[in-house]
């Protein structure tokens, strides 16, 4: 806009057009506005410096064999670290653990989040109060959520065990965090407790944009509530559903805080997720080359998952 005024002003100036002014106008038209570059400079600079350089450092480290036990001998091994990691006993097991955990989280968060948002969409007094309360777990850190649920699932004095025992469902306290499968489910519950409000609010926002006439049309045509849900609600919330599923998968796959606080790797190897092994390889086994290789592999796997998601669901209207 300003370019137009500048060029007009040059045309109507009383003295002759100076070459400097013309070239300034042409430069502004070609590059655009210099102000734009200056304005985005802080953000781009901070992101580039702290993302690109560490990434290259990680790739470089993963090509050498660096053991902190003998720090001065760093032979170049090329893809040796990657081969060792893929052939190790824990790689595919931890990938499987991560996939199972992520699947549980995605299922819980999506289904329960959708249910909660349908509940919040009803206009009663209690649901209005619920809308105020529902934001609270989203603000709580994963570490705190892990500590809280660790106390609730405690095998000797926990509230969950107490509840089941008092209601007569079980006849002894069960060690939830000490059982391979139940430990994963407990982790998933702690994760879902924090993520359900996020999903519920997103779904609620979309549900509120669906016009009432569509539901009335289904009612008039003689459909049940289930048909209304299946043919009106579900197609219209598909973009948000995709966003929630992708977000939850990425967060569930790279979850580290909950594992560290609640199970520390789990009974045996059962909750050792791939992110946990990256940490353990570097800071417990002190093998920096393999740790860097694992972190690069993790980044590639996450990228591949996102691309697969976008291709499979065939995104046209989601950006």
């Amino acid at each position: 806009m300003k370019d137009i005024f500048l060029s007009l002003e040059v045309l109507f100036r009383p003295r002759g057009i100076r070459r400097r002014d013309v070239s300034l106008v042409i430069m502004k038209k070609k590059i655009g506005n210099m102000t734009g570059y200056i304005m985005i400079l802080p953000v781009v600079a901070i992101i580039s410096v702290f993302t690109i350089y560490p990434l290259f450092y990680a790739i470089k480290t993963s090509l050498y064999e660096i053991l902190l036990a003998r720090p001065f001998l760093r032979p170049y091994v090329g893809y040796g670290n990657y081969l060792e990691v893929i052939k190790s006993y824990y790689f595919f097991k931890s990938l499987l653990n991560s996939l199972v955990y992520a699947a549980m989280c995605v299922f819980m968060v999506t289904v329960v989040g959708l249910g909660v948002s349908l509940l919040l969409n009803c206009r009663y007094k209690i649901t209005n109060v619920l809308r105020i309360i529902i934001v609270v777990p989203w603000a709580i850190p994963f570490v705190v959520s892990g500590v809280m649920w660790k106390w609730i699932f405690n095998s000797s004095y926990g509230a969950f065990n107490g509840l089941l025992y008092s209601l007569g469902i079980t006849d002894a306290y069960v060690s939830w965090l000490g059982h391979p499968l139940y430990a994963k489910i407990c982790l998933a519950i702690a994760h879902a407790w924090k993520e359900i409000p996020f999903a519920a609010i997103l779904f609620l926002a979309v549900l509120q944009t669906i016009p009432r006439e569509l539901y009335d049309a289904v009612r008039v045509d003689g459909g049940t509530s289930w048909m209304a849900f299946k043919y009106v609600t579900l197609p219209l919330i598909k973009p948000v559903l995709l966003v929630v599923v992708i977000w939850e998968t990425v967060i569930g796959f790279t979850m580290f805080d909950l594992v560290y606080v609640m199970t520390g790797g789990g009974p045996g190897d059962s909750t050792s997720l791939i992110s946990w092994y990256t940490y353990a390889e570097t800071f417990k086994f002190l093998n920096l080359g393999k740790g860097a290789a694992l972190s690069i592999l993790l980044a590639l796997i996450v990228l591949a998952m996102i691309i697969i998601y976008l291709k499979v669901i065939r995104v046209e209207q989601v950006y």
Binding site: M1, F5, I31, G32, N33, T35, G36, M39, I40, V43, V44, I46, I47, F50, T51, P54, L55, Y57, A58, G115, C122, Y124, I126, T127, I132, V135, V136, P137, W138, A139, I140, P141, V143, V144, S145, G146, V147, M148, K150, I152, Y157, G162, Y165, W193, I201, L202, A205, V240, V250, D257, V261, S275, T278, Y279, L288, S295, I296, L298, A299, L303
Partner: protein
Amino acid sequence: MLTLMHKKHWQKLIVYILSIVVFIFVLGPLVWIFLSSLQGEADLFVVPPNWIPKKITLDNYHYVFTGKIPESYEVKGLIRSRISQEARYIVPTIINSFIIAIFVMLINLAAASLAAYAFSRIKFKGKMPLYIYILTSRLLPAMAIAIPFYFIVNSLNLLDTKFSIISVHCVYTLPFSTWFLTLYFGEIPKDTEDAALVDGCNHYQAFWYVLLPIALPGLSAACAFSFVFSYSDFLFPLLMTQTLKSKTMSVLISSLSNNPDVSYALISVCVVLAVIPLLFIGFFFRNYIIKGMTIIIK
């Protein structure tokens, strides 16, 4: 007529029951931790647990703030009481976390709003590729750059400072804030700013005097998001901090939970103290947060 009224009552009943279930699920753990923090250690170790606490004491809070050991821990007999000095570090670490989060929030506010203004209002060459570059840097998992970041910071001798944590948190919050604010500024009509530009402002003045006052709700939401992310972050402070000089709340809580010498009453106290700023933000900023999430999905 009667069947219609029946159906409405049934519906209301189901909605009420489900809402109460959701209430208990959402608030239950928080209330349980709060009640646990108000009891002595001996009262927590009963089978089945006391749903309504029999004796409420503020002794645990007293211990964390002043160091006076509560009486209930001294009557033990054979069982060693679990009270560790580490729990008393919670207040300095909360202050550390708070300072780091405030700095991250301010840097986010300044840099991201400028960049968002540029992306939404100004045309310049290479805008789209830069925008996509900023967004995709968000997809990088934290673990991939955390470990190299540790070694870089170590070689710069910045290992135990708040500055390193602030910088890495900025890297993680800036893309999201920029994207969110770009969407938000895109919703605001350009007319007022164009009027200002015609009247002779340059872009900076238009941004400062015209756009910022209109965009305050979106900026509050971006502040809330970045504050909550920075305050709750765990992986980077775990790697970067060693001493109390820069330790954050999340690192301390995780080490307390793995410490066998800390009773659950003490952990509950630390958790309650740590969560207070977040509850404050979650409650007062909830409208902005919800509106912000609404804008994201559009």
